[in-house]
Point group: C2
Chain length 334, copies 2
């Protein structure tokens, strides 16, 4: 995957220069790719598909099961639980504001939301479908989906391509604006407390924002080695290095332990932390990051200031209508 | 449980006389018990609790996981799948219109929605919480729930009692009015097709409605022996008699194979059928019921007519807002 590697290298080099953009407020709309312009029909279809457990082999797991749109966009578990109670090795990233990252999955192996959406459905320990061909057969059997696909994609068939485009179009609406930070960034200087401002300044000072840059505090799809500083005590406790990140996909030594930089938006709601969900609290996560990425030891009050600021990144979650899923008379799962 | 037995016996005897009430349209509101009057604050709290997977040990299973409010109020599975992928022996009944039954669960062991709501949460193969005490500790730790309980129950603490009252208050709003049948019952005689009317008349004629009586076509909480006519061929195929129904709770021989009469509302959406979910299609379910309950063999066209009418019992599902679940910063499930 040379193009991913190129992106990673380029943005890692550029990291230090993108600091200024960290002061941007979150946009109210996410950009859509040229081959999948957002439409109301796609959003509605995608909303149904995203919440529909019939996209899993057992009929029990939907995208929303692990990326809970009623909460912080994930499941507050170290590792998500897929069909038949199986668990994988990584923690579910939040779906909120995921549209503001150029790459998806912890290892960044998907170059778009569309590509990401295709993965879990046929992962044997996540949604467990044998193939997208089987998913398409199921969707084609549901009259309401035949109609909804026709409206969203008048000239195209029901397929992996159209289904994932609809899901991605819906995900692009999952934006949480108007955090205290956003109000501050837009000019309301009383929107953040003195402690929160101290936390933000400390983060800039010690280097957090050189990676967690941009409006989503995620480097907009950049990669970073993690951990960069080996700490045997923390390694023993959290086993960060067992997972080799991008290397697991590319098998290239230079990709070992490279991960997508995760967003800090709504981070207070998405415990536990890190790719393996091994750290339970935000306080601990801040201390660990300072140690293994920046080589800094923070005082108790510095940690508290940073955590206060991170809490100011919790946005407003738009009210959502529960989709009314199209019925399948006579449908049974085993 | 003598009081349940009394109810069962009384309504079984009264069954034949309640036929007239089968022509009632579904009410728009469900009655609430004197000790739990419905309020807006209880409904909103109950909506959150009903959809919150934090009421399960793993943080992955909510009431809505098996009683899907985006669909027919159940999960289209023979047996529901609880925590760690475990399955039980019965098929999830629909939550829609459950307020119109005086008893709950397939064996009718719960005398109210409140009593029913308490069960799955601590069932080891459903939601798997060790005790309601543990649930209360979890809820008390969530600031948003502390506020919501205070609004819904100003003078009471967070408890099994108040939590299940809120869930029941929400469930009483889950009503699907305005089916084709309801329009017909209210006087619009063109709301049903000729075939649907034939199906309804056939059901009255052969005796279906003597049990499936009342506006919800459920005998309003009556019990009935199932099957009443032993058929070795069907028994071998569907193993209906393995489950002894109310007997499993009371251990009284006279309760053996007694079950709550399930609603026929939205029955077209809730395959597979019967207490053990062993019958996949509505056509087959109609034939089986005629055979093992009424001793009738229906022609192909009679089955088609009845199925057509049963489809006319699919109501309008009210639009629902997805609850925004109160956050638990630093919360982790294992």
């Amino acid at each position: 995957m040379p193009q991913i590697r190129t992106v990673a290298s380029a943005i890692i080099l550029a990291g230090a220069t993108t600091l200024a953009s960290a002061w941007d407020a979150l946009p109210n709309k996410a950009p859509a790719p040229a081959n999948n312009p957002t439409t109301a029909a796609k959003i509605e279809l995608g909303r149904s598909l995203f919440h529909d457990p019939r996209l899993s082999s057992t009929g029990t797991v939907s995208c929303a099961s692990c990326h809970n749109t009623m909460a912080g966009g994930e499941d507050n578990r170290p590792n998500s639980m897929g069909v038949h109670g199986q668990t994988g090795g990584r923690s579910a990233p939040t779906v909120w504001n995921s549209a503001f990252s150029k790459v998806q999955f912890w290892d960044g192996r998907a170059a778009s939301l569309e590509a990401q959406a295709a993965g879990p459905v046929t992962n044997p320990i996540e949604m467990g479908m044998k193939s997208w061909g089987d998913v398409v057969i199921r969707l084609e059997a549901i009259e309401g989906y035949r109609t909804a696909f026709k409206e969203a994609f008048p000239d195209e068939a029901i397929s992996e391509d159209t289904a994932t485009k609809a899901i991605a179009a819906y995900e692009r609406t999952l934006i949480t604006p108007n955090s205290a930070y956003d109000k501050y960034a837009k000019g309301n200087k009383s929107a953040l407390t003195a402690q929160e401002v101290r936390g933000l300044k400390k983060m800039a000072e010690i280097g957090c924002l050189s990676c967690h840059s941009g409006a989503a505090f995620n480097g907009n799809g950049a990669f970073r080695e993690f951990p960069t500083i080996f700490n045997s005590y923390l390694e023993k406790q959290y086993q960060f290095s067992n997972d080799k990140g991008l290397f697991e996909v590319t098998n290239k030594q230079e990709d070992a332990h490279f991960f997508k930089i995760p967003t800090l938006r709504n981070i207070a709601l998405t415990a536990p932390y890190f790719h393996n969900g091994s750290v339970k609290t935000l306080e601990k996560a801040v201390k660990v990051m300072a140690t293994v990425q920046l080589g800094k030891k923070l005082s108790k009050s510095e940690v508290e200031d940073i955590v206060a600021f991170l809490n100011a990144l919790t946005g407003e979650f738009p009210e959502q209508v529960l989709p009314s899923l199209p019925a399948t008379p006579g449908n049974t799962f085993n």
